[in-house]
């Protein structure tokens, strides 16, 4: 079950204190740097705190836990992708038939995974299924459900949305790519085929 960590809450008219803002930036930069450089799984929280020049307490106060920090680092990239789905050019954005948009979404998300699956795995660490109750998932889920409805899969659209999102989990992607040896391109084709079968 999704629980927002107990992070500092700012009342609607409060501003974040300047030292807090500065430290948040420092931490995000340090974490991004270290994750990028050593792989998200091989960076300890101590190391991030040290690199950021900040105490460990601060780190955890601002970000709750390791996974949550990774999610924060991921957020910017995620927004970019979501932007494309809403306002980007067809077939990713509006203006193409729903089946095509589904396939385009799949390809776009696969590309996203190719770049960021490491970070995503870190963001879900220790909570299998966290993905399924996270805000970004809710967004993609809504997107896919809408497209399924437009394609006429009225009855079970919500369940089918989860089915269509499953092959796009970071774990599944890594398995298909690293264990089964499928290229990102090949995965895109398979995904398109799956979409046809399901909305067909």
């Amino acid at each position: 079950m999704w629980m927002a960590p107990d992070l500092p809450v700012l009342g609607s008219d409060q501003r974040e204190r300047s030292d807090a803002a500065r430290n948040r930036r420092k931490v995000l930069e340090a974490a991004g740097r270290l994750f990028e450089c050593h792989g998200a799984a091989n960076v300890s929280m101590d190391a991030i705190a040290a690199e950021a020049g900040v105490g460990k307490g601060t780190l955890f106060r601002r970000f709750g836990d390791r996974a949550s920090l990774a999610r924060s680092v991921l957020e910017a990239h995620e927004r970019e992708l979501q932007e494309g789905l809403i306002r980007g050019p067809a077939p990713l954005g509006p203006g193409a038939p729903p089946a095509e948009r589904l396939a385009a979404f799949g390809r776009a998300y696969l590309a996203f995974l190719e770049r960021h699956s490491d970070l995503i795995l870190a963001a879900e660490f220790g909570s299998p299924g966290l993905r399924l109750v996270s805000p970004p998932y809710a967004f993609y889920r809504t997107h896919v459900t809408l497209l399924l409805l437009q394609a006429g899969a009225a009855e079970a659209a919500d369940y089918l949305a989860d089915v269509l999102l499953a092959p796009l989990s970071a774990a599944t992607f890594r398995y298909h790519r690293d264990v089964r040896g499928l290229s990102v391109d090949e995965l895109g084709r398979r995904y398109e085929d799956l979409c046809r079968r399901i909305v067909g």
Copy 2:
């Protein structure tokens, strides 16, 4: 990537030493008891060692790590299910049309999840995607792939097998049941519908 933990290996003609065998039994019983009673997530390895009357080193020597121990506890149950798929009565076992057998498999696995999802989650803890490279998954995957081939989905059967197994992951099950509030029965119906769409 699947890596068997570095457990004691017995040469083909070696017998396990009697004290080792006794300790293994004690640990499995203790773990089963504690997992059952307190929920798999709330039992520390120290507690299991204590309950079994065994040192911590022994615990880790025999079972590698926490997840691996949970897998061992799970194994017996898993074998039972697999038995049903191979030699059980139709439609679960042989003798029914493939689409029906797929649906029956789905229902059977959902029942399995209803009983054991806690333990399964513990068995996968810390390694998202471990499931996908584990021996039991390989078994189910083969089973589903075969049925898909029999149903005439030749081309992408292996990819589609993963798609059909995804809604049967413990994490997805818990999400559907606990967050979306779907009953096991309802999930069975949805799964059957999914099978029809995919093999149709």
